[in-house]
């Protein structure tokens, strides 16, 4: 498989809840709204969504409760059977899998973390983490070793024999994370993993999560209702509302160019300077005269504040992390972002 092929590719996915969704979907005229569908007695959990997730990418699906984000991720893992469209994982249509093949797929390729942890209350930390390994029939010694390894990875050494109820919320979610990583999945689903935690712990877990991701480089679908969290973690953000994706783009683009009014409402109160990166704001070089030292494209405008204020160049060259100049930044534009003036 080529490196550029998407890991998950969803095309025109529909998930309808109601008495007989398949036949309803067939007779559904194009362009019927969420509310009209609801008036017909159906709930559009996922409404005509097409989205791709690339290898090693972190896609954050953001939306308020009831927007269909959890339903969508459950369609990716086929916890829900979709009503229409196709979902391919590594080029394979998951709706065509038999029960046995689906179990194999989950045992070897997918891991999932849940909002309220979903730990088995009667098993110790060690046994919870080893659970997926036990299910696929790995021998006792092997799975113990692997489980201890992941437990160490998430920083729960010494708690192996504890039962879930003996742990704090943050620790319980670490167990959930360890369990989802035990089988070394390629695809990692996280369904609002930090929403049940209090703000301080949430921040700490986010840092921890970024550290893990740097190390493991998995393909990730991350669900959240917290826009700040989405901006902090995402390569790309998909904003959902009433089952449909309103906009799917990089954090910079979403903040700078919200596609719809709904998305704009989320971005209104955001300090854009802390989100937008120099490379996101930069224009192609296109023969502009370049002078002086380039700035780092990976830095946010906020991080560049001092340079932007003190420098007197009109155009600043922007370089990638290898030092190659990739574009130019108009200092005025950047200052406008910094000062919050559109």
């Amino acid at each position: 498989m080529s490196a550029t092929a998407p890991v998950i590719s969803a095309k025109n996915v529909w998930k309808l809840f109601g008495p007989s969704p398949e036949s309803y979907l067939k007779s559904l005229p194009a362009g019927r709204s969420f509310d009209e569908i609801r008036a017909d007695g159906y709930i559009a959990g996922v409404k005509d969504v097409s989205i791709e997730v690339g290898r090693g990418e972190m896609l954050v699906i953001m939306g308020l409760s009831g927007s269909g984000k959890s339903t969508l991720v459950r369609c990716f893992s086929r916890l829900h059977d979709i009503t229409g469209g196709t979902i391919e994982v590594d080029g394979q249509d998951i709706m065509s899998l038999s029960e046995r093949e689906l179990i194999e797929l989950r045992r070897n390729k997918m891991g999932m973390v849940f909002q309220s942890f979903g730990l088995l209350p009667h098993r110790t930390v060690l046994d919870n983490v080893a659970f997926p390994l036990e299910m696929r029939g790995q021998d006792r010694h092997d799975r113990r070793e692997r489980a201890l390894e992941v437990i160490k990875l998430v920083g729960l050494e010494g708690r192996e024999e504890y039962f879930p109820r003996e742990l704090s919320g943050g620790q319980q979610q670490r167990v959930g994370i360890a369990r989802s990583l035990a089988i070394e999945p390629d695809i990692w689903f996280l369904d609002e993993p930090f929403s049940a935690l209090d703000p301080l712990i949430r921040r700490e877990m986010q840092d921890e999560f970024l550290r893990l991701q740097e190390m493991l480089g998995k393909t990730i679908v991350f669900i959240t209702h917290d826009f700040d969290e989405a901006l902090r973690l995402a390569d790309r953000i998909a904003i959902m509302r009433n089952g449909a994706v309103e906009q799917c783009d990089t954090p910079d683009q979403i903040v700078m160019n919200p596609a719809t009014e709904y998305v704009a409402k989320f971005t209104e109160d955001i300090d854009k300077a802390r989100v937008v990166h120099a490379k996101g704001l930069a224009k192609p070089v296109n023969g502009h005269a370049l002078e002086g030292a380039p700035i780092n494209g990976g830095s946010t405008i906020h991080e560049l504040a001092r340079i932007l204020v003190n420098d007197d160049r009109i155009l600043l060259p922007v370089a990638n992390d290898k030092g190659v100049v990739t574009g130019v930044l108009d200092r005025d534009t950047a200052l406008n972002v910094l000062l919050g003036a559109e």
């Binding site: 459950r74 989950r106 730990l119 997926p132 504890y162």
Partner: protein, 660 residues
Amino acid sequence: MATLSTEIPDTSDGTWGRTKVLTALLVTALALILAKAVGVLPEWLNRIPEAAIPPTAQILDAIFDFIQNDLGLIYVTRFIAEGPLEFLLDTSANLLEGKRRWPYLGPIPWSAIAAVAAVVGYAVGGWRLAALGAGTFIWTAAIGQWKIAMQTMSVIVVAAPLAFLLGLVLGIAAWKYGWFERMLKPILSVLQTLPFFTYLLPAVIFFKVGPTAGAVATITFAIPPMILMTTLGLKKVSPEVIEAGQMSGCTRWQMLRHVYVPAARTEVLVGVNQVIMLCLAMVVLTAFIGMPGLGAKLLAMMGSFKLGRSFEIGVTIVLLAVTLDRMSKAWVVKQPVHFERGTPWWKRHQISLVALVLFVGFTLLAQVFPILAEVGRKQHLSQGKEIDVVIKSFLAIDVIKGTTEWLRWFLNVKVLIPFRDTLLAIPTPAFILLVVSFAYWVGGRKPGIYAAIFFTIVAFSGWWDRSVITLYTVISAVALATLIGIPLGVVAARSNRWSKSILLACDTAQTFPSFIYLIPAIMLFGVNDVAVVFSILIFAAVPLIRYTIIGLSSVPPEMTEAADMSGSTRRQKLMSVQFPLALPTMAVGFNQAIMFAFFMVIIAAFIGTQDLGQELQRTLAGTELGKNFVLGLNVSLMALTFDMAISSWAEQRKKRLGLD
């Protein structure tokens, strides 16, 4: 019916149509009664003529006969009875009471069992339960009832695990297959209201007299709550735990074995508790089909009015009940606790080891000191005769005697007999109409229709008068229980400390096998109608008090605070805030009281009644399976009528108040 309806004030804003229907029903009923009073009612409208009553019992007998002999079911059941079931019962009987059967090891010395009970008690609930466990068995041995108690226990140790397994499997099936649950539900609600005599006779006929029949009846009786708890528990497993299992790549069997059943642990264990308690309750009652054990002894002692011995056996039964209940409940709440890594093997299994050592130790000691193996006939500490004298002389004190005799006279002559005669004087159709209007008024249309169907069936069963007498006993007892129970509950709910201790007392009283409630009734009032009503009264008062307290104390504090801040007096607060909010819960208690009363009224047949229970008890002597079923079904149908009406009221009310 009037007595009943005053207990549940109708707070619904009945629509015009409803009032019209209700008036029509009541006017028709009244017209029929008046017509009878002036003597113009034709006889066929007063009671259904004999000729119109279908021979249901005979038809049923023919059907049973067909199933039993022509289809050969009897060979299957007899095979089970004489094969595996009898083997299990013989084994437990050998181990516990020393019956001469395989494995020829028993009886296990009482001291060894008491020691193990103490260790088990300690393991699930600390020192207090250890003392309770040991104390119960020491008492039983010391009082000279070891053998009969073990006859009872030997059936329980077989019946309870079997009932648990069957209940678990059926519960899982009901959870998995919707059609199975829909089929099972009505059967279960009939089973739960069917009088226990109706369990006993088929058991005897199909499974041979003796412990096997007793065990079968016990198992059948104990299964329904296990099924319900299993289904409930499985349905309650959190969706995320289920999804976590699926994402871990569980197959269907792995899901059930490793995810669903362990995650439903609490409900399953509550089911275990109920199975054990129902087994005990039923095993005691199997005395009626001649099963030896505590129940039979109690029956014999009460029959010959030996109050002292009855009292002692009662204490043993109560102690056993409390021990089994507390231990199994402690097991429900006990959560696994981790051991530090590197804890040695013997330390991880410390408790099992201690139990084993004590068991072996006492068994060996018993070889040297026979008193530790068996408390002999001359050695036991029973004070039966002395207690007898004390009780009888206490009851003979002028004040006590005067009071009980006056009460007996007053209740009998002024309340019970006139009430009974009134009910019996009402023409059958009018009676049915009154019941229907009650059900309609309280529960709405559906319970009303069911009431009409159910009571019509009862009317055509050919046992109308006896059914009315059964109903009269139930209504009188529940009405009296309400008069006593609700004020008591209201007073107790005022203080935290009181409500806690009374709740504890109620919970404990609810674990007693119903048989126990006959003892004080017979002691105080002898053998007559008042004793019957009294025994039902105390049995039915327990849930009434319990739910009154629960209902009142679960009123949200912000509401009572709001009432306080509005300057309401205690009475105003009770009447306009606490009662309205507590009523749905109290109705549940009231419903349970009626169900308990229907259960108890049948047992009270032992004292001597003229109702369905008496007839039922008579059928036990013979093989009239059809008649037994008809009688049992009558009780069940009447109970279900009230159950449906009151529960649907409570549910509607709860919904309207936005509770729950």
